[in-house]
């Protein structure tokens, strides 16, 4: 045990320098004014952006639910395939992730544009053009596309461990294929569901690239708001820190609720 503790020192140092200290700095900035006074003004100022918070949570939630609905049957089918087919399919699932994130999102810009490929194709059969880009739908699409593998992988890795004979036992005991899923597969894959939701929801709620590129100016998210406070015209790092802090608390609350659905020994955070 003693040797093991020594090996964890590099990570502990890393955590201290790059996670804990910045976190304290964020909190510190959030409660200071530009001229060095303690204040809660920044936190209360966050309130005026409530609509952006609501929109961010809503879009991230929507993207997470769509990811779950799409990924769940896929992951299940994947986990029940023969072993050598599984690795090929997994490769296909992972393939988009080998491409640069920005590039992938740029690709969607050209696809969805008013003169983009989709509208051109629709035009050929006499439809459209439709407004696809710069809508909240496009933002959700971007989130789903980019974060789907993060939903599939945890689901797959949990489902793959479900013994085939447990599933056979369920059908032996009278479950049709739908009931096998609801009574056995879903309860046994709960840890995968919760970690998948976390892996999608957290990056989705704080993204700023996807909303910037696919959402236009009218679909501002929290991520964009924070970025603007640090790099944009409305330079105000104290407000930015306050927004980050509030966002963190919101995510923490949502995750705590999520963990209520997870078995005791598999709590995520």
């Amino acid at each position: 045990m003693k040797q093991l503790k020594i090996f964890s020192v590099p990570y502990l140092v890393w955590m201290l320098v790059f996670i804990l200290v910045p976190l304290i700095m964020v909190a510190y900035f959030a409660f200071r004014t530009a001229d060095g006074q303690w204040t809660i003004q920044n936190i209360s100022d966050v309130g005026q952006y409530a609509n952006i918070f609501v929109r961010s949570i809503w879009l991230a939630l929507l993207a997470t639910v769509i990811c779950l609905v799409v990924a769940y049957p896929l992951a299940y089918a994947l986990s029940r395939m023969e072993k050598h087919k599984q690795s090929t399919m997994l490769l296909i699932v992972m393939l988009p992730m080998w491409m640069n994130f920005l590039l992938r999102t740029y690709a969607w810009m050209t696809l969805l544009g008013n003169n983009g490929i989709i509208n051109n194709l629709l035009g050929m059969i006499g439809l459209g053009p439709y407004k696809l880009i710069n809508t909240s739908g496009a933002v959700v699409l971007g989130m789903v596309y980019n974060y789907l593998p993060f939903m599939i992988l945890p689901l797959y890795s949990v489902m793959e461990k479900i013994d085939k004979s447990v599933i056979e036992a369920a059908s032996d005991l009278g479950c049709n294929s739908r009931r096998v899923i609801t009574r056995v597969v879903v309860p046994l894959s709960l840890p995968g569901i919760t970690s998948g939701i976390t892996m999608v929801f957290v990056p989705a709620i704080s993204t700023f690239i996807i909303s910037r590129m696919l959402g236009g100016g009218s679909n501002l998210l929290i991520g964009d708001l924070i970025e603007m406070q640090f790099l944009g015209n409305s330079y105000n790092p104290h407000l930015g820190a306050a927004i980050s802090l509030v966002l963190m608390v919101i995510i923490l609350l949502i995750m705590t609720v999520m963990n209520q659905f997870s078995p005791d020994d598999q709590v995520l955070i």
């Binding site: 004979s165 447990v166 056979e168 059908s171 032996d172 005991l173 009278g174 479950c175 049709n176 078995p263």
Partner: protein, 348 residues
């Protein structure tokens, strides 16, 4: 007694053309304890999975109470399975595991309580209701698996090497217990094992399988005393199998000597397998014997000594309650009815 399950010319073939079952036909009678016995890969588990409905035969018919059930999915069949590695639901406690089948069928809560209670009593697990199945010993998990299957009142219970993972003592206890349960509930049990002793102790009927073919069907006594070929003889208990020939009815010649036997109906001088159980070899003084050999090794086995005796053309395995010194010359003799004559099996 009626047949409850009938298999008619069942063939199971994999995509690559490999045949797992080669034309199996078998009738299983109601309230019978039938055991499929054979080495691993002989097709016994495959046969069980066909009855359960997890596998559809490539050709042939599966009949249940006279009706063809080939296309019936597992959840609609009136059979339940006890799986090899238990396959309990890890997210449910003991009570909920046993209640599972009843809940699926929307049985009223009051009746579930009553029937699960009965089962817990039957398998001696009263007081374990709330226990997580992950915190049970192997033997207890096994009992839950049996209760979970039996609570549904299936007409046939399928058991796939259910005692394989238990230690010897527990296995013996469970064998007796399973047999008791089967007789008390008057159910048909179809049991799969590779352990010949287990098959002989528990069954009404033993089905010996090898390479996807049924070798012999019979009562344990028949199978042991009258094996139809050298494979069965060798697989069920230990045997001395010697090449021989039949010069005439009731006379067999092997290792150059002639012996009296009770078998008839072979062609003159037909070559045969001669099977003699190690416990049927009588040790007599060498000077009085037609057949002699030198004791090579003696191993104490508890009830008897196991001796290997080097004869002229054959190393004899002998079980005897008296040990002979290693290196001694002994004589061997056999009673006529202890010499079993078998047609040469095709595998040679």
């Amino acid at each position: 007694m009626d047949n409850i399950v009938s298999l008619k010319n069942i063939v199971v073939e994999f995509e690559d053309g490999e045949q797992i079952l080669k034309n199996i036909s078998l009738d299983i009678k109601d309230k019978e304890f039938v055991t499929f016995l054979g080495p691993s890969g002989c097709g016994k588990t495959t046969t069980l999975r066909i009855i359960a409905g997890f596998l559809e035969p490539t050709s042939g018919d599966v009949m249940f109470e006279g009706k063809r059930i080939n296309d019936l999915p597992p959840h609609k069949r009136n059979v339940n399975t006890v799986f090899q590695r238990y396959a309990l639901f890890p997210h449910l406690n003991v009570y909920e595991n046993i209640a599972f089948g009843l809940r699926v069928k929307n049985v009223p809560e009051k009746e579930i309580l009553k029937r699960v209670g009965e089962m817990l009593e039957l398998v001696n697990l009263k007081g374990f209701e709330k226990r997580s199945v992950n915190r049970l010993s192997g033997g207890q998990q096994q009992r839950v698996a049996i209760a979970r299957a039996l609570v549904n009142h299936p007409k046939v219970l399928l058991l796939d090497e259910p005692l394989g993972a238990l230690d010897l003592k527990l296995r013996k206890e469970m064998q007796t217990e399973l047999r008791k349960i089967q007789q008390a509930l008057e159910l048909t049990f179809v049991y799969v094992t590779h352990d010949q002793e287990e098959a002989l102790t528990m069954s009404d009927t033993v089905v010996v399988m090898n390479n996807g073919v049924i070798q012999q069907v019979g009562s344990p006594t028949d199978i042991y005393n009258e094996p139809v070929n050298a494979f069965v003889a060798d697989f069920i208990g230990e045997s001395n199998i010697i090449n021989g020939c039949m010069p005439q009815d009731c006379v067999v010649e092997f290792t150059g000597k002639r012996f009296e036997c009770v078998d008839k109906g072979f062609a003159p001088n037909e070559t045969v397998d001669v099977v003699i159980r190690p416990e049927d070899v009588k040790v007599i003084p060498a000077e009085k014997a037609k057949l002699t050999g030198i004791v090579e090794s003696v191993v104490f086995k508890g009830v008897h000594y196991e001796m290997v005796v080097d004869g002229v053309d054959h190393k004899w395995m002998i079980h005897s309650t008296k040990a002979e010194p290693v290196g001694a010359m002994i004589g061997m003799d056999f009673d006529p009815f202890d010499i079993h004559i078998m047609k040469k099996s095709e595998e040679g």
